[in-house]
């Protein structure tokens, strides 16, 4: 038994674990890709195109500047909308946390906004605004704002009263109170909020571009639909998926950087 435990701690064991995790993570995708490729042998191209075609389309998008510009425009819209919603949501959440009357006034409005479907906001924006960028920015803000506000508000309210009292006992300036207590207390929740809202925003931006824009990934998807090009539709979709995965990875790296102090139980759940 002791020998077995010792064996697990060898460099080989240490290498085997990450490799196993990688295989476990990749296995469902490999299986999915295999099924799709198998389907492409029996179904027409416009239903199940070969993954090789999808790959060529994807590379073509990367290699052609005009197409890559469409991808970058969509990314910029997502990030711009999220940053805008986060800044406004942060301000609103701070006001709501500090003042119960402001909270009582704003909370029902934000709840009401949350109940409005993203597609309705797209229609409203197309009617209200002429400029495409303004339309999309507006849609991104109104659809992400309630979630960001409530998430930041929740994080602010969850700050430990004991710790706040302790820091306050040293009589800090507001700036020091923010840097010593508030920011470190809420950073974990903020990063989680970004992860959640990023996924939502990437879906909303496609709908917004599909209906209210003449460029971007959503618009390109509409073009592919009109010519029944499934490989093209998949290739454009993959751009968005890659983007979400990359940003999620960055957020995870930030989490590892800022939240490394958290105790981890040796027993996994």
């Amino acid at each position: 038994m002791v020998e077995e435990l010792a064996k697990d701690k060898t460099p080989h064991g240490a290498f085997a674990q990450p490799a196993r995790r990688l295989i476990e993570a990749a296995a469902p995708f490999v299986l999915l890709a295999a099924c799709w490729q198998l389907g492409s042998l029996f179904f027409p191209k416009y239903l199940f195109p070969s993954l090789v075609d999808v790959l060529w389309h994807t590379l073509d998008i990367f290699a052609t500047w005009s197409q890559l510009a469409e991808v970058l425009a969509t990314f910029a819209r997502i990030l711009g909308g999220l940053v805008g919603a986060f800044v406004i949501g942060g301000v609103l959440a701070t006001l709501m946390a500090r003042s119960p009357p402001v909270d009582r006034f704003l909370a029902p409005i934000l709840n009401f906004f949350q109940g409005i479907p993203a597609l309705s906001w797209v229609v409203f924006a197309v009617i209200w605004f002429h400029g495409i960028e303004l339309r999309i920015f507006f849609i991104m803000i109104v659809t992400s704002l309630p979630a960001f506000t409530f998430q930041v508000l929740g994080a602010l309210r969850a700050i430990s009263k004991d710790l706040a009292e302790m820091v306050l006992s040293f009589r800090p300036t507001r700036r020091k109170m923010f840097s010593a207590l508030i920011l470190p207390s809420i950073v974990g929740d903020i990063l989680t909020a970004w992860k959640v809202n990023l996924g939502n925003a990437s879906r909303v931006v496609v709908v917004a571009e599909l209906v209210g824009a003449t460029g971007g990934i959503g618009y390109e998807l509409l073009q592919q639909q009109q010519i029944f090009d499934m490989a093209g539709a998949l290739a454009w979709t993959l751009q968005l998926v890659f983007f979400v995965l990359i940003v999620q990875r960055i957020v995870t790296m930030l989490e590892n950087r800022f939240l490394h102090y958290r105790a981890v139980s040796e027993r996994t759940f």
Partner: protein
């Protein structure tokens, strides 16, 4: 406008007919008086143990001295200033050791000790050296870079004591800091703490609900009955063991009321 500083004859801490009521009786809500017409003066360098039953208003009194609560009536003065209204003017003058360690989980032991010094704008090098010195004084040399979850309860409370001493505040407020520790660790820390307070000439207000702890720490013992009002104010070493033993049953009676 700055409040005038305390004159040499003025007590370090002054509570003049202080009352603290929670709730809003005018609006029909139930009110609760935690401190009732409390009069207490503490001289510079005094080591006062405030003894009282749980819920007798000790912590409320403590928070008013710290400036975290305003009195409903009466005056609170710390070094001649109102600690609530002139909150920032007492920066660096008061340090608190709480009942639980209240360490910031995202900071290492040394980072936690540096907190007060950061707030006082001490240069990074100096605050690092000071924090290291106090950790070492409290027997935590070698644990500077440990996070709170890596330390035992006793070690964490030592860090919080180091954090309070590091700012070199003249007044130390301690709210039952050893009550959550086991008997032996608590006893050892109490002795170390009392020695440090004496060596550094601090004015210390030490809240406790244990008669023995009050006797061990306090040169002066103030016994509060509920709502916080002084029942006894004695200096056990001055009155002598016989007199102290004579009043001990009465104190025990107040604590069990």
């Amino acid at each position: 406008m700055n409040a005038p500083a305390a004159s040499p004859s003025e007590p370090e801490i002054h509570l003049g007919h202080v009352t603290k009521t929670f709730g809003r009786p005018r609006r029909g809500a139930e009110s609760f008086t935690a401190v009732d017409d409390l009069v207490l003066d503490i001289a510079q360098g005094d080591m006062v143990a405030i003894l009282g039953k749980t819920g007798c208003g000790k912590s409320t009194m403590f928070n008013m001295i710290a400036g975290l609560l305003a009195p409903s009536a009466g005056t609170v003065r710390v070094q001649g200033r109102d600690p609530f209204r002139h909150f920032n003017e007492l920066r660096g003058k008061i340090a608190i050791v709480f009942q639980n360690d209240r360490l910031l989980p995202w900071r290492t032991a040394i980072g936690n000790v540096e907190l007060g010094l950061e707030i006082l704008d001490v240069a990074p090098r100096q605050r690092h050296d000071t924090a290291r010195y106090w950790l070492s004084r409290l027997g935590l040399g070698g644990h500077e870079n440990d996070y709170p979850h890596m330390l035992s309860g006793g070690m964490r409370q030592r860090v919080s004591i180091a954090r309070a001493f590091a700012t070199d505040a003249t007044i130390l407020l301690c709210d039952e800091p050893f009550s959550s520790l086991d008997e032996i660790t608590g006893q050892r820390l109490r002795t170390e703490f009392a020695n440090l307070v004496r060596e550094n000439g601090k004015t210390a207000v030490f809240i406790t609900h244990s008669i023995d702890e009050a006797l061990q720490i306090g040169e002066r013992v103030v016994v509060l009955r509920r709502p916080a009002k002084i029942a006894y104010d004695v200096r056990p070493r001055e009155v002598g063991p016989q007199a102290w033993e004579a009043i001990r049953p009465n104190i025990r009676g107040i604590l069990s009321e």
